[in-house]
């Protein structure tokens, strides 16, 4: 029986839920960031110390403080 299980079905089902929640949160966060940038005090953009931005090309491999 075990051999005929398709473990992908459960993963897809969970993913649909997680993606809906995480996607909304992600969109809200980026919108909030844009709003802050628009209304916030004019200053040079901070280098985002709180979020270790993975968009920084070097960060993936070089930052291995863990």
């Amino acid at each position: 029986m075990i051999a005929y299980i398709d473990p992908g079905a459960g993963s897809f089902a969970l993913q649909a839920i997680v993606a809906a929640v995480a996607g909304t949160a992600y969109a809200l966060r980026s919108r909030l960031k844009r709003l802050r940038a628009f209304f916030g005090p004019r200053r040079p953009p901070a280098p985002e110390p709180a979020r270790e931005s993975a968009a920084d090309p070097g960060s993936v491999a070089r930052r291995s403080d863990g």
Binding site: I5, D6, G10, S11, L14
Partner: protein, 468 residues
């Protein structure tokens, strides 16, 4: 390396990897043409390769013309050493996980997605993890979920969580489970406090529960689940947060502090560095294999000279520290790996051809075995002639340290064992190695009774080919 299709690439209908004349090529099938063309036209290839996240390649039109079913033939940049996730320390696996997520997020920005998230598609190249499978990218179709979500959790999140929350040795489960650690197994092994992390709770435990519940309905999976692009971006960001939160602080490893304190005389340590440096400058090997490298203090004498160096040690804490130091210093020539030399990685997977055994992957121009022989000969009871034969197979030049029975380290090994090693003497050691090596020099280590031997393998047929 034999010519022909390599054993690891048979699953992918988009193409395969083959070797010709010692060079690795990637065959791109016509069926994959749309995706490959999009990878280049969308700018995704340039974006990833430019940032060192994807292995760069050149197209080989002449070879493609010879293969009627080929859309393209690619020659990827050569990666010196093939390593597998069960040979990586925690920080290496964590960096590889973050690489995969960054590749996926970048792909999404270019209208593509990763169709798999296999840890075997990541290699360490010039000190950093790099995605090597150019054919893993698929044009994203509206509403399609991320097919590799489960695989990412099994290959990366589960082993990382097990090491961070339970025990570093559990990373070895990757060796048993060829497609990553099953999520129900990971959930059963993780302590309750792991579930305080909501990411692990969702992606591992609840994920395992969903798999169980949907298992019976495999045939009728229900309506296709739609996932918006925003959702995929959110999912990748959530997984990135999950990985980033996982930390492993090794404690109580006796090996990590091996060079500190008074474990052996400062004078002997300094002299050993001198002897290794002089040997490296004389031999000037094209590559070095350091066996029992600990945190890589001596391996770095080679890598700092620009010699690609593979530093193997059985202790994950030592390897983790060595890797973190290498990252911090931007060392491109040093690759530390977790390997138990008494039980090295075997050939694994379908027909034992998907993952190669350790030995054929690690051969080098020179081999260094310092403070190692007594562990294998006494600790693991390997007869010295076998040890010599094994070392001879790994490289033509050898620097090997003999640690006599009178040494404190060996005395400690013998304290709890019956001394069944009458051959373990300096003379016995030399006799055992004389059949395989020419002894070039015997250098007594100041402040100790140890001896470092410079040796050169006695030439055998086909030796020149092996010298790299």
């Amino acid at each position: 390396m034999d010519d022909g299709v390599l054993g690891a690439s048979f699953r992918d209908p988009s193409g395969f990897v083959f070797a010709r004349g010692g060079v690795i090529y990637r065959h791109v099938a016509r069926s994959y043409a749309e995706h490959y063309d999009h990878l280049l036209a969308s700018g995704l290839y340039e974006d990833l390769a430019g940032r060192g996240l994807l292995i760069p390649h050149v197209e080989e039109p002449a070879l493609a013309a010879q293969a009627p079913d080929a859309h393209r033939v690619l020659r990827p940049e050569r990666v010196a050493v093939v390593s597998y996730p069960y040979e990586w320390c925690f920080s290496q696996l964590r960096d590889a996980a973050r690489l995969v997520l960054e590749v996926q997020r970048t792909a999404l920005r270019h209208g593509m997605t990763l169709k798999d998230a296999s840890a075997y598609n990541v290699l360490f190249h010039r000190g950093r993890p790099v995605w090597i499978d150019t054919l893993s990218f698929e044009t994203w179709r509206e509403g399609r979920p991320w097919a590799a979500y489960r695989q990412f959790c099994q290959h990366f999140l589960a082993p990382l969580a097990l090491v961070a929350h339970r025990d570093a040795r559990l990373a070895q489960l990757l060796r048993v489970h060829v497609d990553g650690i099953p999520l129900d197994l990971a959930s059963a092994l993780l302590p309750a406090r792991a579930w305080l992390d909501p990411h692990l709770l969702v992606h591992l435990r609840i994920h395992a529960g969903f798999q169980r519940r949907h298992a019976g309905r495999a045939g009728a999976a229900g309506p296709r689940r739609r996932v918006e692009r925003r959702g995929l971006e959110g999912l990748a960001a959530a997984l990135e947060a999950a990985v980033r939160r996982l930390r492993w602080r090794p404690r109580g490893s006796p090996w990590e502090a091996y060079y500190e304190g008074n474990s052996y005389a400062v004078e002997a340590a300094a002299h050993k560095r001198e002897l290794v440096s002089a040997w490296l400058d004389d031999v000037r090997p094209a590559s070095l294999l350091d066996l029992g490298a600990n945190t890589g203090a001596l391996s770095r004498l080679a890598s700092a000279r620009g010699i690609p160096t593979l530093a193997l040690d059985a202790d994950p804490a030592c390897v983790d520290r060595s890797y973190r130091e290498a990252c911090a210093a931007g060392e491109a020539n040093l690759l530390p790996l977790v390997v138990d030399l008494a039980n090295p990685s075997p050939a694994l997977g379908w027909a034992n051809e998907e993952r190669d055994a350790l030995a054929p992957r690690i051969g080098a121009g020179a081999v260094m075995a310092l403070a190692l022989v007594h562990h294998l000969a006494i600790g693991n009871q390997v007869p010295l002639p076998r040890l010599a034969a094994w070392l001879a197979a790994l490289g033509p030049e050898l620097l090997v340290e003999f640690v006599p029975k009178s040494d404190a380290k060996v005395r400690r090994l013998l304290a709890t064992r019956e001394d069944v090693f009458p051959e373990y003497t300096r003379e016995g050691f030399e006799r055992a190695f004389d059949g395989r090596f020419e002894r070039l020099a015997a250098l007594p280590l100041r402040g100790s009774e140890r001896v470092l031997y410079r040796m050169r393998r006695l030439s055998a047929p086909g030796d020149a080919a092996a010298r790299r």
